[in-house]
């Protein structure tokens, strides 16, 4: 199990108030440092799977191991801490708290996680230096660091979100259609920077997208439709 970054067996999830499960997966494994695309139309159980991976919802049936630990046996607050320590998360948009500055937004992730702080300490950098390094390498000019996040363009905001997700080197990065609001140039630029940063720390990248043209950047594509038995029933 510890070989895998994520491993799923017989995972099923039924939303409250619904009679049938939304998600039912026999097996799914993702290796350490692997870069995968998770693809599926809406209703394929994508956001349910992401919620389970991030530890927001309880594992009802089956097994879900993340970095060798079973999320099923953890309490809600243990899972919240696990997410803070080991996972970065990037939304489609609106990732930043508009009332904080760019740098404060990045540093927020460190403040919520002791493990991230400790990793930075071990690497011998302090949090604000690291945030500055990440912002610079993601192409956010230092003139923007102390501006309110709300003043940034969408593309810049997504890069700041990436910096926040990556600071303190979590093992897994989940990005939920982070490029859908970007134009083609910004998208390629974003993806290249993300890949580079993930490569530095051997971070597993789980990237949700509908965009087939991005496939070449990734090791593997997981079609959720083909592994979610619920979706198979619906669509066959």
């Amino acid at each position: 199990m510890t070989d895998f970054s994520v491993s799923v067996r017989d995972l099923a999830y039924t939303w409250r108030g619904q009679s049938k499960p939304t998600l039912n997966i026999d097996t799914l494994t993702i290796q350490h440092g692997e870069r995968i695309i998770l693809r599926g139309p809406s209703g394929s159980g994508k956001s349910t799977l992401l919620s389970l991976l991030a530890g927001v919802h309880d594992v009802q049936d089956g097994e879900l191991h993340v970095l060798g630990k079973s999320l099923k046996t953890m309490s809600q607050s243990q899972r919240d801490r696990y997410r803070a320590d080991h996972m970065g998360y990037i939304f489609q948009q609106f990732n930043l708290l508009p009332f904080l500055t760019v740098q404060q937004n990045v540093l927020l992730a460190v403040e919520f996680s002791r493990a991230r702080r400790e990793r930075l300490e071990k690497a011998g950098v302090n949090a604000s230096q690291e945030s500055e390094r990440l912002l610079t390498s993601l192409g956010i000019h230092n003139q923007l660091w102390h501006k309110p996040a709300s003043e940034l363009s969408v593309g810049q905001q997504q890069r700041v979100a990436a910096a926040r997700a990556l600071i303190g080197a979590p093992e897994i990065l989940i990005a939920d259609e982070p490029t859908s609001a970007l134009d083609a140039d910004a998208r390629d630029n974003f993806l290249a920077l993300l890949k580079e940063e993930c490569g530095r720390h051997n971070i597993t990248l789980i990237f949700v997208t509908h965009d087939a043209s991005l496939a070449s950047h990734f090791d593997r594509i997981i079609e959720l439709q083909s592994i979610n038995k619920v979706a198979l029933e619906v669509h066959s």
């Binding site: 927001v56 607050s77 919240d80 320590d85 998360y89 939304f91 609106f94 708290l97 927020l108």
Partner: protein
Amino acid sequence: MSLFKLALASLLSRKSNALLTIFAIAISVTLLLGVERVSQETRSGFANTISGTDLIVGARSGSVNLLLYSVFHIGNPTNNISWQTYQHWDQSRHIAWTVPIALGDSVRGFPVVGTDQRYFEHFRYGRQQPLQFAAGQPFHIGDAVIGAEVARRLGLSTGDDLVVAHGTGSVSFHEHDDHPLVISGVLERTGTPVDQAVYVHLRDLDMMHGGHAHEPEGDAEHAHDHDHEHADMPPIPGISAFLVGLESRPRAIFLQRELNTYRAEPLTAIMPGTTLQELWRTLSGFERALTVVSAFVLLTGLIGMLTTLLASLRERRREMAVLRSIGAGPRRIFALLISEAIALTIAGMLLGVALLYGLMFALAPWIQQAFGVVVSIGGLTTPEFARLGVVLVAGFLISLIPAWRAYRNSLTDGLSMRI
């Protein structure tokens, strides 16, 4: 960045809502404390106004009315007591001293009290403190003594001339300018209505109103020399009230009955302490009503905060999802909302207390002018802290509602950004 700082930053981004909420809470806090403060201060101010006087006697009227006009110079006497009746009681057994008081005139808005030297001898205020002269001495005929506030506001001192006006308004069309007086003394400040009054001799008051005007005034020497020899000839036909000191205090209740049942003239005698109590009983209903009203105002302020926070939750679902994504648990979200509400409540309380002190500084001169009572502006008292505590607890309890809502939302929404 601590959770509290995060809450503050988030609040600051919704400045106008936050400010309105703070203001609403502040106003209710000001009211809540102000009612308590004003009633306490007036109570002690009024209680300090007169002491050592066992009975106050006036023409038949309500006891509170008699107290108000004789001591506080508020309102007017309904009727006069004849000099003969006054003399009768002055010489009665058990009575140690009396002080006659005649009211009705004024000097530029300040009441004129017609009396005689006994006033300065027997009048006591606060803790049995006698009146002291800051300058000069008690009046003789043709003189006047003024209170500290009169001296300050009119810029008068000993030796100055004074013209008394008829009636009690601040503007009078009928001035007794044919009978100017010379200020013989200025009283030390007392913080009571004494400061606001002008004291003249009964005989002067009478002369201003035409009594004895036919008499040749003669030289002042003559008047001074014979001041006490006119005992059989009344200095004034009637007075408004007189203060009574007894040889033995417990007799007050018997003498009060005697006075109240005096057949020659209908009189009302009151014991100042008892009547003050009566006055407070009348006012305490009013005070309770005000407290209830301010409690409701507080409730309104807190409901305003509740509304604002609940409404903000809808537009803050993204914020919550972002916080969740970086590892904030539902409990953290709950605590965040509580912190916000507490921050709003505390800011409201601080602003409210500031408003209270601002109001007191602004109103104290007015209260002193209107009631002669000095409002001392001290620190917060224990009951006031208790009331602030109630506000804080109420703010906390109210904040549980949006906090719980946010907690539930963050559990069901998870990382999805429902808009």
